[in-house]
Amino acid sequence: MRQLLLFITIILVGVSFIARLFYLQVYNAEEHSLYDDNAIRKVYDYPKRGFVYDRNGKLLVANQPSYDVMVIPREVKPLDTLEFCSLLKIDIEQFKKIYNRAYHYSPRLPSVFVPQLSKEDYAALQEKMRKYEGFYIQKRSLRDYQTTIGANVLGYIAEATQYQIDNDPYYNMGDLIGKQGVELSYEEELRGVKGIKFIQKDRFNRDIGPYKDGIYDTVPQQGKDITISIDADLQEYGERLMQKKHGGIVAIEPSSGEILALVSAPTYDPNLLVGRQRSRNFTKLYNDTINRPLIDRGLLRMHEPGSPFKVFVSLVALQEHAITPETTLFCSGVYHYGRRGTMGCHCGGGKRDLVLGIAKSCNSYFANAFRKNIDLYPDAGKAMDIWSDHMKSFGFGNFLGYDLAIGKKGNIPDGAYYDKWYPDFNWGATTIISNSIGQGEVLVTPIQLANATAAIANKGYYYTPHIIKHIEGKPIDKKYTTKNQTTIDPKHFDPVIQGLFDVYNNGTAWFLKVPGIDVCGKTGTAENFTIIDGKRTQLTDHSIFIAFAPKDDPKIALAVFVENGYYGARWAGRIASLMIEKYLKGEVTLKQMEQMVLDKSLEEEYAKPYSGKPFTINN
């Protein structure tokens, strides 16, 4: 038996070794990936981010180099913190805070220590960088805006959030990503593809050369340049006209759906969100809850459309044969409906047909048309469903599908909507009559209004509005070159367009004519309310205007929305005329009107609800 001792011991040891190896290498093993291997340093090579041009080839956004100081906490050796901090222009407390945060994130992975050094700081630091083990400089490309306009359209880039890093393996800590505007919408085209170099490290963390002679390395692919449909001159002019006012202007080319101008006011200089001041400026903009400059009012401001909506009400009524262009009504200055219902009218009174009704913006005429329309069907719910579908074919009541990442649906009520409000189903045309003049439950955004105006200009179809005009080496999305038909027959547009034209001849905008250009437009004045100290309080009306021109060959369709600007022709109408002249002629002859608009500040008006004192409106 003595022979067995060594024999058994050998076998036991062999078996336990294999078991241990199985545990280490198979049971407990991790998939080997070059990206996770800490024996391999990954060095990224960031490509040039694509440039952004306006529709006339004017360069709007270029790049400038920037230098991030990165840290790998585990590799940091004791250093002269005082000198280091003074080079980086931070104090010791900040140093500790940033270092601890980086360590907490990961001792092994690089974190941004100080982002976006200026060229001067970089030059001073670069010479001494060797002394600071564990720190290195990562070159990146920052945006360099060639303009001060269009912040809402151009958007900005910023460091990817942890959520974005976790969800898209392309991004690493400290990478820049488009956060708004075209930077966000066309992020993939603009950013290109970063290159990567794998470098073999030794145990002292020294580079000992490219891993496998660099066969896994990739070269960066340059970002693509894009051309956006914005006309920089028009955009700049629009922003100038809107200064000291709140609201938005959306101008669209009807024949293509290209957005010519997307003005949101108040706005900010896009250069504020570049460089080391970025986060301070961003906080300032973000916290400005009265002006809210980061909100794109052209896309996000839902409002009651007011009188311009009458145009669409009449188109649906025509299509449904509730009225004909010849249908007339005598307006007495007040419209009676139901048992006690009345609706005032400012049109001056008299006999109104469709064309004159639009020109004079007669409330009674369209209330009547809408009522007839709903009463065509015995069931008001069904009638509203049909009406709602017609309206939605203009792009109201849903996201338009344009290529900017933000938007609002607006609201076009249907039968079910009112069934919910009136559970007894005891509602009918008279209950919801306010919708006929764009003041009921209907809500739109300026871009929806501009798009629907383009559909009128096109007599029945529109292209989905879009900001992109051209991408280097790639066609734009097909959905922007496909017609969207409305449910209204083209023949019904002629009388309506005549009415819109007459708005400038003998209607509500007679004093806003543009010399030498036939403009069609419609004023709008929307009542609005806010809540002050728990009381519903009326504020000065919103000034709204839609227009397109020239009448016979529309080149521009637009919607203007001026918060608390009072009646439609007052500010929105004037701005529309100036924008049309600017775009079609390249220069403005309406100098007096221009000066009036530029001088006008509504800031007093916006301060009223916050003043805590009683105030008057509509003056």
Binding site: R2, F7, I10, F17, L21, A29, E30, R203, I208
Partner: protein, 425 residues
């Protein structure tokens, strides 16, 4: 029956093939662990892989030499070989060269020779010679002392050169003595020693002492035929001395780095931060080698593809930690292959030893198996973190001329002895 011409070739080819596989595979891993950059010049003798190739070539000559010497030579001259070998160890105190704190090398020209690697074979020969002497009886206490002295001389000489790892290997002769009739009480005592050591360090000397005293008393009083009271008292005293002695030895005699190794192995340190720091700082090698092995996965990263090997993350990787290269580049498949090869080799040698007609050959074969087994167990166990760090090479595998030649001599003398067993009537 046997033709004269075949006599020279009647070697055990299974053993030889396993030997060749180990040496060949070992060299591939040395190449991987020591090459720098992408180009490899196989005959670049300034690089370990180039030198090792030269060592392997010289090994072939050495093998031919060993196999052509008459096998009786080894038995007759074993005493002289042993004495010469011991003298070479003594000579280190005068002319030795210090490398990494151990004075274990002679520097001859550009080469270094480590006599302790050859002393193992010499000691094995001497032990075989002594035990096979007709007058020797290992059951006899006097002869036990003599046998112990034979292995104690090289062990102490090597320990004095500060090469504790190689000293431990001489404990492997216990298997040989046991096989040849060493009384069972030694086995019991050895196991008891291991048991008490671990228990004393892990649970404390007092508790261990009390528990063992109770156990022995219980044994004393439950036996029908009462053992003599003196024996029992002696056993209790031994246990108490051992448990406190071990604690004292650990705390006062072992060097701090040795304490840390044992402390980590037995998980004596409770503070997790301290443990993590010990793993990183003191046992950096172990930490990195375990990491390299587990990063290999099932099939490994491929020959010359190991990133941790290429980055030289594991220090001493081409010598004592060569197994971690196998782990990283060849994965579980490669490591299992090596373990199985070793187990097969050891079992083959054991099997052949038992077949030997002469006691000398049998004892020698047993010694070969025991020595190789100790190296195999300690080296791979250490690299995987199963036993405390003891720096000894993996036979046939690790880089080093002396080691390779020492093990080759050890093994091939046995192959030569084995080839003659038929004629030894």
């Amino acid at each position: 029956m046997y033709r004269e011409t075949n006599r020279h070739f009647r070697f055990d080819w299974i053993t030889i093939i396993i030997f060749l596989l180990l040496v060949g595979f070992g060299w591939l891993n040395i190449l991987s662990a020591s090459h720098v950059g992408e180009t490899i010049d196989y005959f670049d003798f300034s690089q370990p892989y180039g030198k090792q190739l030269m060592f392997i070539a010289l090994t072939v000559l050495l093998i031919i030499l060993i196999l052509s010497i008459e096998s009786k030579f080894y038995e007759r001259f074993s005493s002289i070989i042993y004495i010469v070998s011991m003298l070479s160890l003594v000579g280190l105190f005068i002319a030795g060269k210090n490398v990494n704190g151990a004075t274990s090398w002679y520097a001859i020209g550009g080469m270094t020779i480590q006599p302790s690697e050859f002393a193992k074979a010499a000691t094995a020969l001497a032990v075989a010679k002594f035990l096979s002497d007709l007058q020797t009886d290992i059951k006899n206490f006097k002869d036990q002392i003599k046998a112990f002295i034979i292995i104690a001389i090289p062990a102490i000489l090597i320990l004095l050169q500060n090469d504790a790892g190689s000293t431990v290997v001489y404990a492997s002769f216990f298997f040989v003595f046991y096989r040849e009739g060493l009384p069972k009480i030694y086995l019991t005592l050895s196991l008891l020693l291991i048991f008490i050591s671990v228990s004393s360090l892990k649970f404390g000397a007092t508790i261990t002492g009390i528990v063992f005293t109770i156990l022995i008393l219980a044994y004393h009083f439950t036996r029908r035929k009462k053992p003599r009271i003196l024996q029992t008292l002696f056993a209790i005293a031994t246990c108490l001395v051992l448990s406190f002695g071990i604690k004292f030895f650990y705390q006062n005699i072992l060097q701090p780095h040795q304490q840390d190794r044992i402390s980590l192995w037995l998980r004596l340190e409770k503070d997790p931060d301290k443990i993590a720091q010990m793993r990183r700082d003191i046992l950096y090698n172990l930490y990195e080698s375990e990491k390299a092995i587990s990063s290999g996965g099932l099939t490994g990263k491929g020959f010359l593809e190991g990133t941790r090997t290429t980055g030289k993350f594991v220090p001493e990787q081409h010598t004592d930690y060569i197994f971690s290269t196998v782990g990283e580049e060849w994965g579980f498949a490669g490591t299992t292959f090596v373990v199985v090869l070793f187990v097969l080799l050891l079992l083959r040698i054991l099997h052949l030893s038992e077949l030997q007609k002469s006691q000398f050959s049998r004892v020698y074969g047993y010694s070969v198996a025991s020595i190789l087994f100790f190296h195999f167990m300690i080296n791979i166990g250490m690299v995987m973190g199963l036993i405390p760090t003891i720096g000894i090479p993996l036979p046939f595998f690790s880089y080093g001329g002396s080691g390779l030649w020492g093990f080759t001599i050890l093994l091939f003398i046995f192959i030569k002895l084995d080839s003659n067993r038929i004629n030894e009537w």
